[in-house]
């Protein structure tokens, strides 16, 4: 009988190729960027100049605020659409569910660029929706190149990421709970608010965490569908990287973005622990 440590080592060794891949192609470059953020732009030597400039320019703070706003907005919007979808899917037979899941995933499989252009056709000034509104005498609504357009574009991409964790969480609830409550006299609404919803919170939080982290890094959708106020971290990194050619600044922004994501992830996972304890208590 091998000792526990030897067994663990052997199992861990299966992960070595993946670990090597991640360390060399992900961790090393990440440390390279961290190192570069401390460089001088005009020569050699280390400095905190890039970070000093970042925290003293209003540009960075505004962009940080906008990024957080857009990311939180994306979480709320996708939650709004994804929860009913997941609820509906949880009630389906497995075969039907698989079919519907394909429909949920279709936008996920389409390229971002194609989706954004198709949204332009739909939401544009002379797009399909505005033409329909014009038939009723309503003047065109601006749905593109503003925050609304960005929210639609981001949600369209992020809904599948929200649906899956919530669906898993809902599926894990034993159906007897609902039946027991119905026998005791609870109406459908009560069953939902007192049993289903609280028990699905871990899934909601997991999905929100995922969607939030993903949307922090988004760049193309705000750039294509947003207006002048919808500048996010990705745009800022691009600005310093390719327009200003100040790579230490670009690296510093990237580092701060990663730190923000980590901070949010830690915060939300604390909430997640809290909510799963809550759901254990209530069941």
């Amino acid at each position: 009988m091998r000792s526990p440590t030897k067994i663990h080592l052997r199992e861990a060794s299966y992960a070595f190729p993946a670990a090597l891949f991640m360390v060399s192609l992900f961790a090393f470059p990440l440390f390279g960027i961290l190192y570069q953020s401390f460089q001088r732009n005009d020569g050699d030597g280390l400095t905190l100049g890039a970070y000093a400039r970042i925290f003293t320019t209003p540009l960075f703070l505004r962009v940080a605020y906008t990024t957080l706003e857009i990311s939180l907005g994306s979480v709320l919007c996708s939650l709004l659409f994804a929860y009913p979808v997941a609820y509906f899917l949880a009630k389906q037979s497995p075969r039907r569910r698989a079919l519907y899941l394909i429909l949920v995933l279709v936008p996920f499989w389409t390229s971002s660029l194609v989706k954004s252009f198709s949204l332009m056709v739909l939401l544009g000034h002379s797009g399909i929706i505005n033409q329909a509104l014009a038939a009723f005498g309503i003047s065109p609504v601006k749905m593109l190149f503003n925050r609304f357009g960005v929210m639609i574009g981001m949600s369209q991409y992020l809904i599948p990421f929200m649906v899956f964790p919530i669906l898993t969480s809902l599926q894990r609830q034993p159906p007897e709970l609902g039946r027991a409550a119905a026998i005791m006299g609870a109406g459908k609404l009560r069953i939902f608010t007192r049993i289903t919803l609280p028990l699905s919170l871990p899934g909601v939080v997991a999905g929100s965490l995922l969607v939030f982290i993903l949307s922090l890094g988004f760049y193309i959708i705000p750039a294509l569908l947003g207006g002048r106020r919808d500048i996010v971290f990705g745009n800022l990194v691009n600005f310093y990287l390719r327009e200003i050619i100040n790579w230490p600044m670009a690296s510093a922004v990237a580092v701060l973005l990663v730190l923000t994501a980590i901070a949010v992830a830690m915060l939300l996972s604390k909430i997640q622990d809290g909510s799963s304890m809550l759901s254990k208590e209530s069941s």
Binding site: L59, S126, F145, I231, N246
Partner: protein
């Protein structure tokens, strides 16, 4: 069954490895034959015109093959020069990119023993780049809406009461600063040195009426087509292409902003002599005239204007017209970064 399978598998592998060994010669046809140049440009219809006016004639004359790349990017140039792994021998640059690239040490000094730039306008004679042609930008507008009530000068562009409509400008400060001054009433000859505060005040006034601050040049004309905006700042080449495709778009030839298209050799290129020969070739009078006929740009070699195709004449910017503004790349050098950052901050408010 196994006997039938293995020879076919073996021959498959043999064929694959033969292909792999032979492929370098196939992928880079010039490798065995002699020299080749890699030129990075802006692609699109401009790239096609460059093939006809410069690249193919050059290959015919000298036998040196030309391979094109697109996506000119100062950041990518910087990586290549720093890593001493220069892939692009020649890059196309416009206006302020030339002093910027020169200051970053990215370009080879132009070898005047090979490149002849006598009797060219002064803007063609930068120490590190050759200026091959002059392009123009100005106000574009739709011709199927507004019934002619469109701005033709920058002051009219700024006059939102007299000429209502959605405006669009570029999302960078270069050109936009000068446009703002002209919109505020400054004549072209007095734009430089720029009164930055006055320009920003003028931009503040037009801000509520600007529907798009355009990032992609393509959109400066497509947004008009799609009825997402009405009056934009765009280039003659874009409008010319669309008019030739019968799109209802018009262009004002008043108060145009002139810029210079340059080309330079990346520092550390392994084909320096061939690159210099190409840069010289680009400046030959007959080449410049062919380029002018294809694109509507003005040649930088003097006395070439008379020989241009009369049908293209209307597109050629008038270098002598004092109403037009020639971009002053030297003024921008050293100021672009700070002003561009200020502009981006201003856009966010």
């Amino acid at each position: 069954m196994a006997v039938l399978m293995s020879p076919s598998r073996r021959s498959f592998i043999l064929g694959l490895s033969a292909g792999a060994i032979g492929s370098p010669a196939y992928i880079r046809p010039g490798w065995a034959k002699g020299q080749r140049l890699v030129i990075c440009g802006y692609g699109g219809s401009e790239g096609i015109a460059k093939r006809r006016a410069f690249y193919d004639p050059f290959t015919k004359t000298t036998g040196i093959e030309i391979i094109t790349a697109s996506g000119v990017d100062l950041a990518k140039m910087k990586i290549q020069v720093e890593q001493k792994d220069v892939e692009w021998d020649i890059v196309d640059l416009i206006d302020a990119w030339v002093p910027a690239a020169a200051r970053m040490g990215l370009l080879e000094k132009i070898d005047d023993t090979i490149v002849n730039r006598a009797d060219c306008i002064p803007q063609a004679k930068h120490e590190f780049a050759v200026g091959g042609s002059v392009y123009a930008s100005g106000i574009a507008f739709p011709t199927d809406r507004f019934k002619g009530k469109v701005p033709k000068t920058w002051q009219e562009f700024w006059n939102v009461k007299a000429i209502p409509g959605r405006r669009s400008l570029r999302n960078r400060i270069t050109d936009t600063l000068e446009i703002a001054l002209m919109g505020d009433g400054v004549s072209a000859s007095r734009v430089y040195p720029c009164d930055v505060e006055r320009a920003f005040r003028a931009l503040e006034r037009i801000k509520p009426y600007v529907s798009h601050w355009i990032a992609q040049t393509e959109q400066t004309v497509t947004l008009i087509q799609q009825d997402e905006t009405d009056f934009t700042h765009t280039y003659t080449s874009r409008v010319k292409d669309l008019q030739e495709a019968n799109v209802p778009i018009g262009f004002s030839f008043r108060q145009n902003i002139l810029g210079i298209r340059s080309s330079g050799a990346l520092r550390g290129t392994k084909n320096r002599d061939a690159a210099m020969r190409f840069l010289d070739f680009m400046m030959h009078r007959d080449r410049q005239i062919e380029w002018a006929n294809l694109t509507g740009d003005a040649p930088t070699r003097k006395y070439a204007l008379a020989m241009i195709d009369p049908r293209v004449r209307k597109w050629i910017p008038d270098l002598g017209n004092t109403d037009n503004l020639f971009t002053n790349a030297a003024w921008w050098d050293g100021r672009v970064d700070e002003l561009n950052t200020r502009f981006k901050e201003w856009l966010l408010i």
